[in-house]
């Protein structure tokens, strides 16, 4: 029964997206808020992640863009006086915060009831010792683990357990600060890092090679339990589950094994006293029924989001209702709407989750996968067989792969080593090894991946080999169908039968196969995800496309009253939750305007793939082929390609060539903006400047160009996503080295080199135009100078320090460009300004990353407006002016360098942040402080280490250093900085670089001894960094969890903010109160 005393509930979000805690919590939180709203409960949300759907209008009643930290939460509780609080929907961040609030007595003080799993139960799962004790009580085996609070104890424990051992930090998300140690030396290193994050380190016996199995369990207050889904890792134990390819349901477990683990999971959940949702992870012996419980997460998790999408069972929604006091039997299955929510979904398909890594974005990063998470996103593929699912999935991760086979040849020096030591490429190494004749037993020996998975992969190889024996004329219907059933695309087939060489154009080759296939009547069908394997009729709109079927579950009305929105695919660096927000807004507007909305997307972490966000959800690929299949069947009014980032944008031209009605800006104009040469010609025509650039066709041409403009230069390919393969080169050597890499990136488009302008301001224009006329716009300003990727930069909106003349010119140029490109919909232009000299860097005829941020600060939904424009609905120019705002929004970036071992935590033209926050304040400093605290910075206690780079940066930092001194901070500084400060009369303590061996005090020692509260380390130039002094200090700051700033302008701004604004002076205002 519903607890009627709960009228107002506070929900803690998870903050910025980071490795280990990403979009899945936007999905969980949004569902929970939806569930509460349905109950008529008033909701308050704290989440600084402004790009999320949950922080949008109409999801929660009050939204606070504030750090999810006890201090701020207490102040919100004081103000809002909620009756209850939900801790399980904001990942580890919310859970930790909740445990802390409880420990500090804040919840009791304000009489706030924890809904769902009680804090004591959470503690029993989080504290390893308590956890093992709890499971011992019910005779359930855990991994023998010693909780150690000192490094000596860890050494002793490891010696007793016997190496190899695994080290884990307690209370840490996504396996942060954990790893395997084969000997004491490795153990020492790992422990030091782990202790930096957590007061407790766990030493465990390693069970490498065991299967890893998870169960998602739901329990209500009446002790009714169900397991909604189980999942099996393709990669055996040893690789973090977030780094593993995962398949649901489990495929290699017998009935007895499946139900043994299921029974144990329920026993655990009952004993611990979970109310809501919980995840149980097992290690399972591949040679007996022996098991160990790895861990229990007493909250919604990445796995639960995946399980929800994999089964159609809305775990977060149900968990929120159970938190309100309901029993499972009182709730309905939200898919069938007639049967009970107390049941376990029966799948009639398999799903395959594949992580998305972006390791190539980081210099020096360790690419080997292990017990700590590095992936930045994931995809989920649905198929009626494993081969289909995994091939879809490998395409979805969006790293240029076409499936398991027919990819660009990987260069692997030592296949055995590459199989033994897993990296982000291992699945493709398996493909290569199989093609080279490695047997399944050999590969199993090296990888410990279950034979079952390897046999299935080998099946794909066999089909591929069969295809290769044919050409397009001898390719028969049966083989073609077999290939399609097992997940081959027309592209793969075209390449396998040698059409690439024949046509010299893969797109044409693919179209030939498509034509042949259609001629044979080999067409895909659409199946529903209905939670009950077709046992009961379901009006579900949750769909996938497959060739392993004879009939579609749905019918198509062909009335041209539907609109397809293409989603943004896997979250990756440069494209994440902000595009999900854009997609969701577009869907809502489409619905409101009387069209049926159709979403195509495959990212299980998103809200756009929640089946109640649209009229039809195709959880499927965003390849040209699949999108065309769906368009052929749905015959929509049109397709929106401009709200999903670069993936749909890149499809525009090919879709247009098939006469697809692309809503909004025409494909030809999109191409004119994307193609640098065409874009430049257009700018020249309308008299707009851009940094001088040239297309590279030979080294001689480029040498001549660089001679003229001078170093540094910026080098990049023409179709760009978040600066992939983009680099600044400061000398001829670097240039040559980089071009050799980048020239391989895209053969259809030339690589371009442009003059890189230093110390310029960067300005963003986000806008919506109709027939080339701007309807609404937002101009924002980077705090950092150009050279920091716009996705990493700290952005202030409205701009605080731009000349009026600059703004006027930016507007004028934007108007000209909008007109010239006949823009009809959302667009973004990036500008550089030095004095009032304005240059255009790039222009995207689609929504940009900053659309949710500026829309929410401005309180004008630019996507809603853009969608109306694209649907050709009359709109008035909104009466909103950014210069009328009497508050400031600051968007700050979240970095996940702590996860990326060895990566240099420095910012450059290539994007490296994994997420962002946006906070509002009555002035710049307050907004900045909120934002910086939200992304993990702390107001330092007393000691600050400065290494402020070159002369110019040193000068820039001088005022900030003075301010620090004036506010009583102790400054420690390395050689040059110390001298410079001394000369300017700022007392400081000289510390030595790591290379000054033997001299004291050493900067690294101070860091290791926890004497430093904040590090400002500004690199001298933009060249690639070796393992230098600066790198060592930056890396140590990250590894030891000391806040690090590497940009002088941001560091100055932050120092100014915390010196001038006291925490207690920070305004606690909901979004609606600004």
């Amino acid at each position: 029964m519903k607890d009627e005393s709960i009228k107002k509930v506070l929900l803690l979000g998870s903050g910025a997206l980071k490795i280990g805690e990403a979009g899945e919590f936007d999905y969980s939180g949004s569902q929970a808020l939806k569930a509460l709203r349905e109950e008529g409960v008033s909701t308050v949300l704290i989440n600084p992640n402004i790009a999320t759907v949950q922080t949008s209008e109409g999801v929660a009643d009050q939204i606070y863009y504030l750090p999810v930290q006890p201090y701020f939460v207490e102040r919100v509780i004081q103000k809002e006086k909620p009756d209850g609080i939900l801790l399980a929907f904001g990942g580890q961040t919310a859970l930790n915060c909740g445990v802390e609030l409880d420990r500090l007595g804040i919840l009791e003080k304000y009489n706030v009831k924890v809904l769902g799993t009680p804090v004591s139960a959470i503690m029993n799962t989080e504290d390893r010792e308590l956890f093992v004790q709890q499971l011992d009580e019910i005779d359930i085996k855990t991994i023998k683990s010693e909780a150690c609070e000192k490094i000596e104890d860890a050494r002793k424990a490891a010696a007793e357990l016997g190496y190899p051992v695994i080290i884990r930090a307690a209370y840490a998300l996504g396996g942060l600060g954990s790893g395997f140690a084969d000997n004491e030396e490795e153990l020492n290193k790992l422990c030091e890092k782990a202790f930096a994050f957590s007061p407790q380190v766990l030493v465990e016996k390693s069970l490498k090679g065991w299967k890893e199995i998870e169960y998602e369990v739901v329990r209500d207050q009446y002790d009714n339990c169900i397991t909604v889904c189980n999942m099996e890792n393709f990669d055996p134990l040893g690789i973090h589950t977030g780094e593993s390819i995962v398949i649901a349901p489990s495929q290699t477990l017998t009935n007895s094994e499946y139900h043994k683990l299921r029974k144990l999971a329920i026993k655990i959940v009952r004993h611990i006293g979970i109310v809501g949702e919980c995840n149980v992870q097992y290690a399972f012996d591949p040679k007996s029924e022996d098991y160990r419980v790895i861990e229990v997460n007493a909250r919604l998790s990445r796995s639960s989001a995946l399980a929800s999408k994999a089964t159609g069972y809305p775990l977060a929604f149900v968990a929120a209702k159970l938190g309100m006091g309901y029993g499972l039997f009182e709730l309905k299955n939200s898919v069938t709407k007639t049967t009970s929510a107390f049941f376990e979904p029966a799948l009639d398909y398999v799903v395959c989750k594949i992580p998305r890594w972006d390791l190539s974005k980081f210099r020096g990063v360790d690419k080997e996968l292990g017990s700590s998470m590095k992936s930045v996103g994931e995809v989920m593929a649905i198929g009626r067989n494993f081969e289909e699912a995994i091939q879809k999935g490998l395409r979805m991760i969006g790293q240029g792969m076409h499936g398991f086979v027919e990819n660009k040849e990987l260069e692997i020096a030592n296949i055995d080593a590459a199989l033994r030591e897993p990296t982000d490429k291992r699945i493709f190494v398996i493909s290569k090894a199989m093609h080279k004749g490695y047997t399944i037993d050999q590969i199993h020996e090296l990888t410990k991946i279950d034979h079952w998975f390897l046999h299935k992969l080998k099946h794909i190889i066999d089909i591929d080999e069969e295809l290769k024996r044919h050409n397009i004329n001898t390719l028969g219907k049966d083989l073609l169908r077999t290939a399609k059933v097992y997940g081959f695309t027309d592209f793969q087939i075209a390449r396998a039968v040698g059409l690439e060489a024949e046509t010299a154009n893969m797109h044409k080759a693919m179209l030939l196969v498509r034509q042949l296939r259609k001629g044979y009547g080999i067409l895909p069908v659409v199946k529903q995800i209905d939670t009950l394997a077709a046992e009961y009729p379901a009006q579900t709109n949750y769909l996938y496309v497959t060739y392993a079927g004879v009939n579609s579950d749905i019918t198509f009305s062909n009335d041209r009253k539907s609109v397809i929105v293409l989603g943004s695919g896997a979250y990756r660096i440069g494209s994440s939750v902000e595009f999900d927000w854009c997609g969701v807004q577009a869907l809502e507007t489409i619905r409101k305007q009387g069209y049926r909305s159709i979403m195509i997307n495959y990212n299980p972490e998103t809200v756009s793939t929640d089946y109640d966000m649209c009229d039809r959800l195709y959880f499927d690929e965003l390849t040209f082929e699949r999108v065309m299949d769906i368009i052929d069947m749905e015959t929509p009014h049109g397709v929106i390609v401009s709200t999903g980032g670069q993936i749909p944008n890149n499809l525009a031209v090919h879709l247009d060539a098939q006469n697809v009605n692309i809503l909004g800006t025409k494909a030809k104009d999109i191409d004119n903006a994307e193609d640098r040469a065409k874009f430049s010609a257009m700018l020249n025509e309308i008299g707009v400047n851009q940094p001088e650039w040239r297309a590279l066709t030979s080294m001689d041409d480029i040498a001549e160009f660089v001679d003229r403009v001078g170093f540094p230069v910026l080098v990049r390919p023409s179709y760009v996503l978040s600066g992939a393969a983009m680099n600044v080169c400061s000398n001829p050597d670097e240039l040559e080295r980089f071009l050799k890499l980048a020239a391989n990136v895209s053969e259809d488009h030339p690589v371009v080199v442009s003059k890189f302008i230093e110390n310029a301001k960067e300005i963003e224009m986000d806008a919506v135009a109709r027939d080339g006329e701007i309807m609404a716009y937002a101009i924002s300003e980077h705090i950092e100078f150009a050279g920091v990727h716009s996705g990493d930069a700290t952005i202030q909106f409205p701009p605080q320090k731009l000349y009026v003349e600059t703004v006027r010119r930016v507007k004028r140029i934007s108007r000209q460009i909008a007109k010239a490109l006949h823009i009809n919909g959302p667009f973004n232009i990036q500008f550089m300004a030095r004095d009032n000299d304005i240059l255009v860097i790039e222009c995207n005829l689609r929504a940009s990353r900053s659309f949710p941020f500026v829309s929410k600060v401005l309180k004008l939904n630019l996507i809603d407006l853009a969608t109306k424009v694209m649907l050709n609905i009359p709109v008035e120019k909104p009466n909103k002016n950014l210069f009328d705002l009497d508050y400031v929004g600051i968007k700050a970036s979240q970095f996940s360098f702590n996860r990326l071992q060895k990566a240099d935590p420095v910012l450059g033209v290539d994007m490296s942040s994994t997420g962002e926050v946006g906070c509002l304040g009555d002035d710049t400093s307050t907004a900045l402080l909120k934002s910086m605290l939200s992304v993990g910075h702390r107001i330092p206690e007393k000691n600050i280490l400065l290494s402020t780079g070159g002369a110019k940066q040193k000068a820039e930092m001088l005022d900030a250093a003075k301010m620090l001194k004036a506010h009583g901070y102790n400054i420690f500084a390395t050689g040059g900085t110390s001298k410079f400060l001394e000369e300017n009369g700022i007392a400081n303590t000289l510390v030595y670089w790591p290379s000054d061996e033997g001299k004291q005090p050493q900067a690294l020692d101070l860091l290791h001894d926890k004497k430093i509260d904040m590090v400002v380390n500004i690199p001298k130039d933009l060249s690639p960094r070796e393992l230098t002094n600066g790198y060592k200090i930056r890396r140590a700051s990250i590894d030891l969890n000391v806040p690090l700033l590497t940009n002088s302008r941001l560091a100055s701004a932050f120092i100014t903010a915390f010196c001038n604004v006291k925490l207690d002076d920070i305004d606690i205002k909901a979004w609606g109160e600004y």
Partner: protein, 358 residues
């Protein structure tokens, strides 16, 4: 693999390939939504006369365990002495199995036991057809043997008589309390559950009159087909109930026979309940259980005699899932507390039964 066609009695056809024993076959086509447990299901005597469709597409993954028999005469891993289903229909058969306890592939086993198996079928579409129409008779025909059409009947056949033991078998002799188990097609795990609870079992043929035997309780086992074909068994139950209040427990067919003895009527469900995810609620409580089920007929709860009441109901369609006598220790479940395959949440039914034997 030879090309085959599955033809349903309404004329619907599905094309596939034969991976099991190459012979045409006919039977009642039923679907099961379980995602694992094919060795248990195939050897479940309740599937006699039926062609089993697995809605989960991947079948054969972990091969087949050895067909060993324990010292107590109960098979180690299987649910009876052989495969009872007349055919297996799947979407994507896996020949290359992987499991430490497997000794052969599913195909090898089917061939050995002369059971046809077909793959490449759109089992979701097939399930939808069966759901819309209700279960149907079907035939598997080999495309290269067009004149070899098999025939079969399901309705009106006493399958219980076909699968029940012909002689009395005793298990765990002298172990403790003695239970007569009426074998309508008993699954081995019912025997295991009782043996594990130190019960001596006297397994008797379905129509055996056990009323004069010496025993502490009666267990009515599961079995295939239409309970209305088993009136002999019902009469004997009635006789027993008129003689004493000894505990009675039943499962599946056992529930239906007990209900008939209690005066209730039985009806055929449109397409039955077969799977591992059927939710049931204990009447009058907030206790809910996920259960394993395999039945095509159900008790009409409204027709129970006045001394009886419903014990469990299905939370999806409200159908009866168990009954009990208001005074005597007589109770039964339509679902399978012995699971195997399926969830084991309702094992307590055996505990309850054993408790009442005192």
């Amino acid at each position: 693999m030879r090309d085959v066609t599955l033809v349903l009695s309404d004329g619907t056809k599905f094309r596939g390939k034969s991976f099991g024993y190459d012979a045409p076959v006919a039977g009642e086509v039923v679907f099961n939504t379980a995602m694992m447990g094919y060795p248990e299901s195939l050897t479940d005597p309740s599937y006699a006369g039926q062609m089993l469709v697995m809605t989960f597409p991947l079948v054969g993954n972990y091969g087949v365990p050895p067909f060993t028999i324990e010292k107590n005469q109960i098979p180690s891993f299987m649910e009876s002495d052989k495969i009872y289903a007349s055919a297996l229909i799947v979407s994507d058969y896996t020949e290359d199995y992987s499991h430490w306890n497997a000794v052969e592939s599913l195909a090898a086993w089917l061939k050995r036991e002369h059971i046809p198996g077909i793959t490449g079928i759109d089992t979701r579409e097939l399930t939808k057809v069966l759901r819309a129409h209700g279960v149907m008779m079907g035939q598997i025909i080999f495309d290269d043997e067009p004149n070899n059409i098999p025939e079969a009947n399901y309705e009106g056949v006493n399958f219980v008589d076909k699968v029940s033991t012909k002689e009395i078998i005793r298990y765990n002799e002298g172990a403790g309390k003695r239970v007569v188990l009426v074998d309508c097609g008993v699954k081995a795990n019912i025997l295991r559950e009782l043996v594990d609870r130190k019960i001596e079992i006297i397994r008797v043929p379905w129509n055996y009159d056990y009323t004069s035997l010496e025993y502490d309780g009666l267990f009515l086992a599961n079995g295939p087909g239409d309970p209305d074909m088993c009136n002999d068994a019902v009469e004997i139950i009635r006789k027993q109930m008129s003689q004493s209040t000894k505990p009675i427990c039943g499962i599946c067919m056992g529930n239906q026979l007990l209900a008939k003895a209690a005066g209730a009527k039985i009806y055929k469900l449109k397409y039955g309940h077969r799977g591992h995810n059927q939710p049931v609620r204990m009447v009058g409580t907030n206790k809910c259980y996920v259960t394993s089920q395999n039945h095509g007929y159900a008790v009409d709860g409204g027709t129970l005699g006045k001394d009886w009441e419903e014990l469990f109901v299905n939370m999806n369609d409200g159908s009866n899932e168990g009954i009990r006598h208001k005074e005597n220790p007589w109770f039964s479940s339509q679902f399978h507390p012995e699971a195997s395959s399926g969830p084991v949440d309702t094992e307590f039914m055996f505990d309850k039964f054993v408790e009442t034997l005192k």
